[in-house]
Structures are given as C-alpha cells and as structure tokens.
C-alpha cells in the first residue's frame, strides 16, 4: 500500500494532498499497490468524496482527544502507529507548511530517510525514485531510499490531480494510543492577516514585483491586477522585501519560496540568479522591465520592454475589456 497523509485545514482537505493521492494512484497502479489515505480527526462527506474521486481504496481516520489541534510530535506519533500497524511501502505527504514540519519528525521516529519537496516520483522495479531540487532549483537530485517505508513530501502545484475513482472505498476508524507527555507542542491559535491571502506556493498565478516597483505603496497596483486574475497571489523579489516594501512571506527565490505556478508575472524584477532559481519551474513566465538587457528576459516566454507604471494600467483596462 501507498499511504497518503490528507491534510485538513479549516475543515477542508488541501488540494496538495489530492495531488499526492493522485500520484500514489499513478505509481501504485503499475505494481498493483493499494492506495490508502490517512487523516487526523473525523471524516467529512466532502473529504471522503474527494478521496474516492482520486482513487483511494481505504481511508484511515486517526482520532484522539489530544489531537484536536495540530502538534508535530502528536501527529507524527499517531501516524507512526498506523505505519507500524499497516506496514505500507511508502508514505507521501504534501510539502506544505504542515507536511514539511511533520515528515522529518515522522522519518526520525520510523528511522527512515526522507526525500523532501519532490517534483517527480516513479516506482521502478519495486524501487521508489524521486527527483528533488537543490539550491532552490539550480540543480536536481534523483534519490532512492535506502530504508523502508519510502517517505517523501511532494511540492504543491507540481503533480496533477487526476480523477480516477476507486471501485470500492473502505473507511476505518483507528484509536491512537497517546498520553499528554507525547504531545509536546500545541497550536493554540491560527493568526490570519487582515486580508485573506492565497499563499504564493499554492497560487495558479503569481504576480511579483521587484526593485522597479519603487515603493511599498506601488504594490497596490499588483493587488489591483491580482483582483482581475483568478487564483493569483502577490510575490516579490528579495530587494523589494529587504527594502521593507512587502512582508517576506511573499519573497520568491533562494532565501524565499520556490514557486511553480501556471503563470509567473515579473514586474520590475531584473532576474538575479537567486530569484530565477525560485521561479524557473513556472509553466509560463511573463516579464515587464524597462531594461531590454535584464536577465529575466532570458527565461521569459513573453517579455514586454517598458515601464511597469505604464504597462499595468493598460493591462488592467485590457483585462477588464476581455472579461466583458
């Protein structure tokens, strides 16, 4: 069996977990491996249907009163119990904030290795093989586990969600054996910003600004553009973040986040090597820059040489026209 951790946030199953489930289904099929999903807490009808559509054969629901809110040690302990009982060939998690926090702890508990933030996964003659970026994408490693089960986190937005329903679906409730000493840290509260924002790692479109934005107030232009583009989020280069124009949560690049959206739009970003590393795996790249020699144009699918302060208002108008 290939087991997939289903991450629930605000009662909703993360799309990245369905990406992992679809991947498990794809690689498992060739070897006749079953696909199991595991969640912590109770299963909603909506989550159950999502799992079924993407091909889960069985869903395990782990429950314990101490697991009401996320805890790395509590969750990893609970998952390790299921792994010990079910002995899966592999366990996949989405490389989300939760997955990145949980997976290494779980790996240490199970005494296995971990392939972090993978962008490809195959099962070849019984051996799991994953490809993962290093140096924020300046190079790629192909890795195999020398321990079992194979444990990996998969980068969100890279693997497709494939709907391929399983013929039957079992649901199993599992009691977890835990006491208070084993839950060593606890999420007390989730604090959101004023505006509900989509994270750049999860967005379909990332609209980024760099030094050419000239000031914090001008990021409003990007937000206005974002309002016209579905599933978009605001990104930034390191210089914009270091200048204090926007929070570091938005930073793309080697000391920020690596993103792979369908569309990456770079406004006033010259394209330093650290920045290119963080966004070169985007499907399409659009760049707007005054300098025709800017390195960003070397990776852009579509470049506009021009002043972003002229381009953005025109672009907004054209998008509005297009919509109506």
């Amino acid at each position: 069996m290939i087991l997939v951790f289903g991450e629930i946030r605000d009662g909703q199953l993360k799309k990245a977990s369905l990406e992992a489930l679809s991947t498990a289904r794809r690689v498992g099929e060739t070897s006749g491996l079953k696909v199991g999903a595991v969640i912590v807490g109770s299963l909603t009808e909506e989550t159950k249907e999502s799992f079924q559509r993407c091909g889960a054969d069985i869903i395990y629901c782990l429950s314990h009163p101490l697991l009401g809110s996320y805890s790395s040690s509590g969750y990893s302990n609970a998952l390790a119990q299921l792994v010990t009982e079910e002995n899966p060939e592999a366990l996949l998690l989405a490389a989300t904030a939760m997955g990145r926090d949980l997976a290494p702890r779980l790996a240490a508990r199970l005494r296995v290795g971990l392939a972090s933030d993978c962008v490809r996964l195959e099962l070849k003659e019984g051996v799991f093989e994953a490809v993962r970026p290093i140096f924020a994408g300046k190079a790629f490693l192909t890795v195999q586990a020398s321990s079992s089960p194979f444990l990996a986190t998969l980068r969100p937005n890279v693997f497709p969600v494939v709907e391929k329903a399983s013929s039957s679906l079992e649901v199993e409730e599992r009691k977890v054996d835990l006491d208070e000493d084993m839950v060593k840290e606890r999420v007390e509260e989730i604090i959101r910003g004023e505006q509900e924002e989509l994270d750049i790692t999860e967005a379909e479109i990332v609209i980024s600004g760099g030094r050419g934005m000239k000031g914090a107030e001008n990021f409003q232009l990007l937000r206005e553009l974002s309002a016209l583009l579905p599933q978009s989020a605001i990104g930034a280069s390191r210089s914009a973040v270091d200048a204090g124009w926007i929070d570091h949560q938005h930073q793309v690049g080697q000391t920020g986040k690596t993103v792979s959206p369908t569309l990456y739009m770079a406004f006033g970003i010259s394209g330093a090597i650290q920045h290119l590393a963080g966004m070169s795996s985007s499907k399409y790249i659009v760049a707007v820059n005054k300098d025709p020699e800017a390195p960003i144009f070397k990776v852009a699918d579509f470049g506009v040489v021009g002043d972003l302060f002229e381009v953005i208002p025109h672009l907004k108008e054209e998008l509005k026209k297009f919509k109506s």
């Binding site: 996320y70 702890r105 290795g113 790629f140 890795v143 999420v187």
Partner: protein, 260 residues
C-alpha cells in the same frame, strides 16, 4: 539560559551551480562559502535572548575545518563559545546523518541546554529535516519556520509561518526552534568582535569521538543522479508601443498560458 545554535557553511546564494558529470554531486571547487542565511537569524535570536535574560550562547557546526570561518563569524557577532564537530564527508543531502551526529554530540558531550536553535533550512540541500529529526531523537518539542519567539521561564510561545497565516504554538523548554527570515534583523560583527574571534581557538570534536558506527550514520536517502535544470528557452520580447504590447500580452495570457 543555555542556548545552542547549529550553523552550516553553504555556498553563497549568488553561486552558479555546476554539475560534476563523473559523480553524483555538484562541483565544489571555486565556490564561495557563507554562513547559511537562515542560521544568522538563529544566532541573532540566541544573542537577543541572552541579552534580555542572561545565559550563554554556544554555536556548533557539523562540517570540515573550513567551517571554522562561519563559527568565527558567530563569535564575532557575540556568541560565547563555538564547537566544530568535524565531519570531512562531502555534502550527502541526508538529514538523518547530520541529525544523528548532532544528537550523539549533545548526549555525550553537551547534555545541558534549554534551547536548540537552527535555521529553517540550509540553502543548498534545501531539506528542512535536521531540526525536526533532532527534536524527535531527543524527545523534545519543535517549532519550525518561526518568525517570532517569546521565552518566559521554562515556557515558550513561537509563531510559525504557514500558508497565508501564522500558527501560535505553545511549548515547554528545552525545545527545538528553527528560524525563518523575519524573526529579527541580524547584527553585523563589530571590528573588535572580529579581531577577538580571530584569536580564538575553536575546540574540535572529531566524528570518531562520538561512538557512532558507520551503519548508524549511513545516509538513508541515496543520491543516484544529479542534473542541471532543464534549460528554459527565451520566448518573444516585445519592444514596441505599450498599447500594442499589452494587447499581445493579453492574447498570450488567453491563447497560450490559458489563464484567462
């Protein structure tokens, strides 16, 4: 408060990374090395806690002799002590091995601490594994990707970054914390600090003194290949009147990227 900080020597983020075609690794010759940027936030946070609450800051690095340079930088920033856990092996991209080495060093030589601070990831291996693995191996609480940390007595509150929000996490000391950009603004070394650090002898703890068998630190993830990223072809660059250029851009978004 006895605070330990774990730092790594990594290639400068401006480095071009080349692939060694005859091995399963990158070319290390000619790379310029720096203190891992995320570790700087960890060192700074340790110094701030010490300054407000008293205590001692010790910095550790697992690596070759050359890693003394980053340890000296930490001393120059204000750390009290530094220890090199000497490991001559090439980068193996395996968190398990490093975590095992750190845990053995702590258990056998440095068992008394209140806080273990790390950077949230080393730029390079990009694994983000060691802090959580160390926490699990030592049975400690962990909070990763922290942008705000408050310690009061034996209790801690850390705010960790998640998608579009922060989690407020409560825990007891001793604990493992990994630092994210935004936690603080790291200080520069003072000239006096640099001069003093230059003269310091950094104690070296050789791997052989940790009583670990080869089997125990064998990487659990094996690298079978390393490749350059697929090259991206430059597309069309439009250098003409803005209204025309934008019309073409919208057509591109619709017809090719298919996002509108």
């Amino acid at each position: 408060m006895n605070i330990f900080v774990f730092v790594k020597r990594v290639p400068d983020t401006e480095s071009k990374i080349r692939i060694n075609p005859t091995s399963t690794n990158i070319v290390f010759d000619g790379l310029n090395y720096i203190l891992n940027p995320y570790d700087e936030y960890a060192v700074e946070e340790a110094l701030r806690i010490k300054e407000s609450q008293g205590g001692q800051v010790t910095v550790f690095s697992v690596g070759p002799d050359e890693a003394q340079a980053i340890l000296k930088k930490c001393l120059a920033m204000g750390a009290d002590e530094a220890v090199l856990i000497k490991d001559e092996s090439e980068e193996l991209y395996d968190g398990w091995r490093t975590a095992r080495i750190i845990v053995a060093a702590l258990q056998q030589h440095y068992p008394d601490f209140d806080l273990l601070l790390f950077g949230k990831q080393a730029v390079g291996d990009d694994n983000s594994q060691v802090p959580a693995m160390v926490a699990e191996m030592l049975g400690l609480p962990q909070v990763n990707v922290v942008t705000k940390l408050e310690i009061q007595g034996s209790q801690g509150v850390a705010y960790r970054e998640i998608e579009g929000a922060h989690e407020k996490v409560v825990f007891s000391l001793p604990a493992v914390i990994s630092a994210q950009k935004g936690l603080n603004e790291p200080r520069y070394e003072t000239l006096r600090g640099i001069m003093a650090a230059k003269r310091r002898q950094i104690p070296v703890l050789p791997l052989e003194q940790l009583g670990l068998t080869e089997e125990e630190i064998k990487p659990k993830v094996a690298v079978v290949k390393v490749e350059a990223p697929p090259p991206r072809k430059a597309g069309q660059v439009i250098d003409e009147e803005i209204t025309e250029a934008v019309k073409k851009l919208v057509a591109f978004l619709h017809e090719e990227a298919k996002v509108i």
